[in-house]
């Protein structure tokens, strides 16, 4: 029996961050897959683990840890294996700065569009009574609002436009930063890259007009390099839906990706 148990959804966004960090460190863990679209995260058995009903959550011994980015820092410090935070304090600051930008500014914009295009339509056809009951079980009021909005499709034009603006600007910022050095926040592979890959691995498929080999060669180089790592391959193989399969486009060499939707 492993001392670590991870409750997660697909290797994507917040779930994928601790998954990939654990696998890069070589830490074996018991995987509990939660079907986000089936509302597993709001069922009593999971709320007993994480009363907030957010994914992911990690058990280490008796302790329950939440918040994906903070879990990654914990994983890096608590276990043996390759260090995923640089030694230099200024590099460490840069890792945290980029993770915050992605977690709080860029990620929510990707997420809003993703929820409008994929999550809402994926659950909308369920029995309305079942959906209503599922929403009422959500502990955090912000998440209840988000789910209602996704299901009803009630996104305003202005907020979607703002999200698209941020996605386009965020992609440009990532490209400019990755032109400075091999990895996002320092000269070594770090938690910022793990965080960023979870956010950006689908770019060439979902946003081919903004991210491709011509416009964003450094992003594509970065994504391919990360996807070529054994831990990333193993992690994305844990995906059960077509979402994780989008990473397959990163198998293609330069010039043969980025233009296919």
């Amino acid at each position: 029996m492993h001392s670590v148990t991870l409750y997660h959804w697909e290797p994507n966004a917040n779930s994928g961050k601790p998954m990939l960090a654990l696998m890069e460190k070589g830490v074996a863990f018991e995987s509990h897959y939660l079907d986000l679209l089936g509302f597993d995260q709001h069922k009593p058995e999971y709320l007993a683990v994480n009363p907030q009903g957010t994914i992911p959550a990690m058990l280490h011994g008796e302790r329950v840890l939440t918040e994906s980015t903070a879990i990654m820092e914990y994983v890096d410090e608590a276990f043996e294996g390759p260090r995923l935070m640089p030694e230099d304090p200024r590099d460490r600051w840069r890792v945290r700065w980029w993770m915050k930008l992605m977690d709080q500014w860029l990620g929510p914009s990707f997420s809003m569009i993703g929820w409008k295009l994929f999550v809402g339509p994926a659950v909308r056809d369920k029995d309305p009574k079942e959906l209503q009951a599922a929403i009422e079980r959500i502990p955090l009021p912000e998440r209840r609002v988000a789910w209602r909005k996704a299901i009803s499709g009630a996104f305003g034009t202005a907020e979607l436009d703002e999200s698209r603006r941020r996605v386009a600007l965020g992609i440009r910022m990532l490209e400019e930063e990755l032109a400075k050095r091999p990895w996002l926040a320092s000269n070594q592979y770090s938690l910022a890259d793990i965080n960023g890959f979870n956010l950006a691995y689908g770019l060439p498929v979902v946003w081919p007009e903004l991210s491709n080999d011509e416009l964003t060669p450094n992003i594509l180089r970065w994504l391919r390099t990360i996807y070529a790592r054994p831990a990333t391959k193993a992690c994305w193989a844990m995906g059960r839906t077509n979402m994780a399969k989008r990473a397959a486009v990163l198998e293609q060499p330069h010039g043969d990706s980025g233009q296919r939707a």
Partner: protein, 251 residues
Amino acid sequence: MNTMLYHGEPNGPSLTVLATLFAKDVQAELVHIDLARGERHTLACAQEPQVAMSVEGEGPVLVVAGEAMTDSVFLACYLDEVGQGAALRPADAYGRWETMTWCRQMIERTAPAAAYLGCRAYPPRADAALLQRIGSVDLRARWQEIMAGNFSAEHLSDSRTKIRQTLEKIEQRLAGRQWLMGTFSIADIESYAWLAGMVSLVPEAFVGRPRATAWLERVRGQAAVGKALSLARSVDPAAVWSVGPEINRWG
């Protein structure tokens, strides 16, 4: 190594960084700028991405060896690592996880609420030409809304709720302990920095919270915090606010 700190009045993010800097005895040239007049956007480094796009909004800028750094909690982590004296984060990984998750809650929920309420009570003022220099479109939009006096009733109400919830959480956390993480830490500094100004603006949040009230006094009594507060140019630095982090727009 040449270190400069551009900071505002000792309140909110500037207080976090100043108090940490003094607690860790880090040598830096201190330059006071008026964040409430948008002076950060006149700095030579203002258009660098890490300054222009700082999620924190109008916070201090630490320049180390030519690199401009922002976001007060992460600046505090940096100072904790390069400075001297007692560590401002627990030594064990779990304690550090607790510190980071605590600060994330402060950054994401409490700070936007406090800044929103603070700016309504004490509006910052920047001239029109300076507003046009703000690199971040969304930060500029927040400035414009605040200067026009456009505060939503929903956000105001939600912000007061978040301040009350923060005090409730602090009160619970302090059961049987003096400091939020057991020993004096970045979590105490960051929490105090955003809440000191809420005592007068959301007084009901502090009613019946004896542990939190005593803790505020304890934090204020720390030498490093006192030294930071002594740099104030205003009578009450807790009444000086500038545009803060964005209120969560999705989920």
